[in-house]
């Protein structure tokens, strides 16, 4: 190390600066930070994706589930349902620095592309709550179906899709007028909604129905219903929840809950290409920003599985807190 420092000192100033930057960032080139909410443990586990290991545990409120990063990466937002709020964790210090007025029992939420507005599903009063993140105030509510849960925002931020678990619909909400413009019936207990990055398709998982609906967001119609079949497993053990789609829209991943598998779905043909065995009761997933890895939360086995996205293989398991549920990965 002293040799390197000496070498930098002897370099012209501009070059030395470049060298310093290189020194700072080189080890972290593939290193991102994953934040995992542990529903039972009331904690957030911080994972260094370079070391593929947990490096820190942050205590949060009661029953943390939905978890997202602010667009600038400055804060982790975590819905603590039994405390009826969303907590903000400063990513630099790992400290809780504030709360957002989410309404009762928040579970999943979505940030608009500007990062200024947050949409929260409130299961207990059949509403979607709209929050101004900077002012930390409530802007309004939209009445939806029974037990709202999944939240997906169109890439341009104009349409918010909320799924309601007992009504069994995907509600399309115009984010400007905050009115429902369409309702699409899907299978039982829809839990998650995800748009393709080009806005051409919306995928909605149905946990009890055991299917994934592909919806045309323009026509508001289900264009394809994807079923899953795993040899040796009962149909009722296949309970799709989390969805992750690569940026190019070519590959989708669907977490199948107590089937302990993630289905790999061809983004174009919608055929199931493969089932990857992960930990027990897989809930949600997140890509590393370079899309090399997909991390899954495994609720019953208290761990996170790491999937190599190119090889479509599970390469590692990372122990986290009690009953992991949600996951968000920061570029830092």
């Amino acid at each position: 190390m002293p040799a390197a420092v000496n070498a930098i000192r002897s370099m012209p100033r501009g070059l030395a600066l470049v060298g310093l930057l290189w020194l700072q960032f080189a080890p972290g080139a593939g290193a991102f930070t994953a934040y995992v909410s542990n529903e039972k443990g009331n904690t957030v586990t911080v994972i260094d994706t370079d070391k593929m290991a947990a490096i820190k545990t942050i205590k949060v409120g009661q029953r943390p589930r939905g978890i997202e990063l602010t667009k600038d990466g400055g804060f982790v937002l975590v819905a603590v349902g039994d405390d009826d709020t969303i907590q903000m964790i400063d990513t630099k210090t790992g400290e809780i620095v504030g709360t957002l007025p989410s309404g009762p029992d928040p579970e999943l939420f979505a940030l608009d592309p500007s990062g200024k507005i947050l949409y929260v599903a409130n299961e207990n009063d059949n509403t979607v709550t709209i929050i101004d993140v900077e002012k930390r105030t409530r802007l309004g509510d939209v009445q939806v179906g029974v037990e709202p849960e999944g939240m997906g925002l169109s890439p341009d931020g104009k349409i918010l899709v909320n799924t309601s678990e007992t009504t069994n619909m995907a509600h399309f909400i115009d984010t400007q007028t905050r009115r429902i413009v369409a309702n699409v019936l899907v299978d039982s207990r829809p839990r998650f909604a995800e748009f393709k990055r080009d806005g051409s398709e919306l995928w909605v998982s149905a946990e009890v129905g055991g299917t994934l609906s592909v919806i045309d967001p323009a026509k508001h119609q289900v264009t394809k219903k994807i079923g899953f079949e795993i040899a040796g497993l009962r149909q009722e053990a296949i309970q799709p929840v989390g969805i992750a789609i690569t940026k190019d829209g070519k590959t989708g991943f669907v977490a199948l809950g107590p089937a302990n598998r993630v289905a790999v779905v061809d983004g174009a043909t919608h055929e199931v290409k493969k089932y990857l065995l992960v930990g027990q009761r897989v809930w949600h997933m997140a890509f590393t920003p370079d899309e090399k890895y997909l991390l899954t939360t495994n609720g019953v086995s208290n761990d996170v599985s790491v999937i190599d996205v190119t090889a479509l293989k599970v390469i590692k398991t990372i122990q986290v807190g009690e009953l992991p549920w949600g996951i968000a990965i920061s570029a830092q």
Binding site: E147, S164, A182, E236
Partner: protein, 397 residues
Amino acid sequence: MFSLIRVLFAAGLVLAPMPIAAAADTVELQIGYLHRTEHKDTISLLDMPAGNAGLAGAQLGIEDNNTTGKFLSQRFDLQEVQLSDKDDAGAAALDFAGRGVSFVLADLPADALLKAADAGRDRGLLLFNVGSSDDRLREQDCRADMIHVAPTRSMLADGLAQYLVWKQWRRWLLVVGSHDNDRLYADALRRAAGRFGAKIVQERVFDDTGGARRTDSGIVQIQRQIPVFTQQAPAYDVLVAADESEVFAAYLPYRTWDARPVAGSAGLKPTSWDASHDQWGAVQLQNRFLKSFARRMTALDMHAWSAVRMIGESASRAQAGDAKAIGAFLKGPEFALAAFKGRKLTLRDWNLQLRQPILLADGRTVVSVSPQEGFLHPVTELDTLGYDRPETKCRLQ
């Protein structure tokens, strides 16, 4: 790409500028709720049925259906009819049919249920049994116009037996009450023991000699009676009680001669719902119920909620307002209900019984949920609970 997205969304807004509800006339669906004025004695004050027992569950189901229905132009209404002991259930069913009601939830004893089903059959009435656990209604006395939402005694007994066997509590001391329904429950428990490898080491009958459940003198005598009643039993692991009439079972825990756990009608009870059940999103339903009715949700409430949701679910899937189409969907292979039990609930097509996991609750928490791991079945593990297709005596007509 951006312009393409804009075009797509613009097209979407033109195609569907309004919620579906505004586009069509609202279809009204009438659901009946038929029950009998009944006085039930319970040992525990906490188990005294509320005035709106069952009915409240139906009302919450209607509310949930209507939240969904507003997006589909469907509206659900509930009509309650309460019978006295002298009133005829068949006449009540005909009366419902006359008022355009096609679906009737019934919390009635078996004979009254059969009367209602037989009277309503030619009028296209579809009955939902929410109160009776009699196996005969799903076996030799089954009806094509009666759907069973409540689990049978055999389903409850099998759910309990699987857990006791898993726990290695295989030696049972069976104590049976002296009423018909107690004996039927004991039959189901004996059958369950035989199916899953438990052994009933001895049976005792607890005679109902009459008397009040509550007295000013209190429990002094009970503390002496129960140890005496349970002494000199052969070696056993668990006392299993069949006391639907609530004469003695609740007195057993902590009072048996030997220090043994109690299950069945007291202690660890098999049930379709418990006020403490909070898994699989159930806490949302529990919260909605508590908020609306200022009391906890019982199994009867859950049966009624499920029945109303079965109708609502079929109405939304069939996209139909007429009872025939809804009934056909309900009995068809596509039907499934999400009811906070961790898997979909479907109908056994041979006798119209709702398949469902059985909760094992101790009154404070849910201890376990059956079917237990390892009890296998070629079609669905839920069919390890109760009479299965090959053994059924039901011929639907």
